[in-house]
Symmetry: C2
Subunit: 248 residues, 2 copies
Amino acid sequence: MSESKSVNLTKRATYELRQRIIHGGLPGGTRLYEVALSEELQISRTPVREAMSRLAEEGLLERAPGGGFQVRSFSLRDVTDAIELRGVLEGTAARLAAEQGVEPAQLVAIKALLDRLDGCFAPGGATGREQIDFDAYSELNALFHQRLSELCASPVILRELERVVSLPFASPSAFVLGQADAARSNRSLALAQAQHRALVQAIEQREGARAEFIAREHARIARGNLEASFVSDPQAPECVPGMALIIR
Amino acid sequence: MSESKSVNLTKRATYELRQRIIHGGLPGGTRLYEVALSEELQISRTPVREAMSRLAEEGLLERAPGGGFQVRSFSLRDVTDAIELRGVLEGTAARLAAEQGVEPAQLVAIKALLDRLDGCFAPGGATGREQIDFDAYSELNALFHQRLSELCASPVILRELERVVSLPFASPSAFVLGQADAARSNRSLALAQAQHRALVQAIEQREGARAEFIAREHARIARGNLEASFVSDPQAPECVPGMALIIR
DNA sequence: TATACAGTAAATGTATACATTTCGCCGCGA
DNA sequence: TCGCGGCGAAATGTATACATTTACTGTATA
């Protein structure tokens, strides 16, 4: 608990509320009352209000009709669409990067990331089953997607992409961790990594359409994993952050 | 000036600031100071602050590094990208609509809009040059794009689309009005209307890929008009709302 | 001359009192 | 029983005093 730093109260309130929303402390649809929250957080109404405003900007809250805020709730369809949207936007970024061409240094850097991602697949030894370092993969994967998006050098595209990705279940690494079915998980990640390589190759060879569609297909893995999560444990797949937001 | 209604002060401040930003009273990059603005608008700091927060959410302001806000400024490239992004998102909406299929009633409604758009092209009589009702076209065009986006029945997609379109120069009707070159303008609008029809046809026939790419190409008309505006009058094409935001 | 530091003015951040609006509840009447 | 209307509690909206942070500027020292 190092959140009670000397940073300002708005940030504290923002952080605290975000945590509660993502982890299910404030389920989707919950109305947030300024007075109640400020008493609970021991922070006056002004920063709490400001925090809510920022979380609305972030997409976790929505403004209620007669003023005030409530926790945004997402149907399974909404989540599917958000992932699809990420695929479309990443695809656009990749296409633009391919069309415009990218700095050699950036290509070198992103290829280095590819190699590091490969390093997460430890040789399985005699068992034949690879042991995957999920935490490292998850982190590097997020970084890879970030760098990939930056290749298009478009602040406008990047901004919207960041916005979509800020929804926890739509982020590229949302479904990496804690999948119930280990075998399925290994297959997903191997396929995903193959797509990562193909994407970089397409951009390097300036194949815009190919890059775009690989990125879209890549996002479909997440979509598949989401649906698998719901099938395997429709009750509470709490492994995935932000799952609490999804109404069942 | 009916803006000094009895609505609350936050809305007044939001409206007033938005107007100033769009019409160039507050050029891109301008830092907004709460105290100065609240004195000028005769409104206390709290609603002014709230208004700035909302305009940041809208994309017209950005949060400055050390706190506070400044007017967002857009390069020509940013505007181009925003229009491209609109094309991509409208394309996605159209594709999803085609893939899922839409209610017959909605198709009927949007076809009625197509007919009304046709009505804006008055027969040119003996001159052979059509007289176009630009204002009516502009309004119907905006409505058409709105309805078209709604066909995909996806709140998530619609939300992001609304966000992009809220940038005045990225809206579908941004470049309809006040084009310097009348002949060019007529050609654009006729082409655009042909694309409108093709789009609806593609959706009706469930041709997702076709619908997507027509929508993208459709947005390219706006991009072309933007570039034409800059070539014809690089100084101050004040005809297009939001043009003041673009740094030259 | 450049840099670092301190002082100060002005900005944003915070708390809170007060104003206004909203919404639900209750009672009255048709 | 249903609907309308007003009353009241509780919510958000607003103003403002005060706190804190930031950033600039001027000066002193290396």
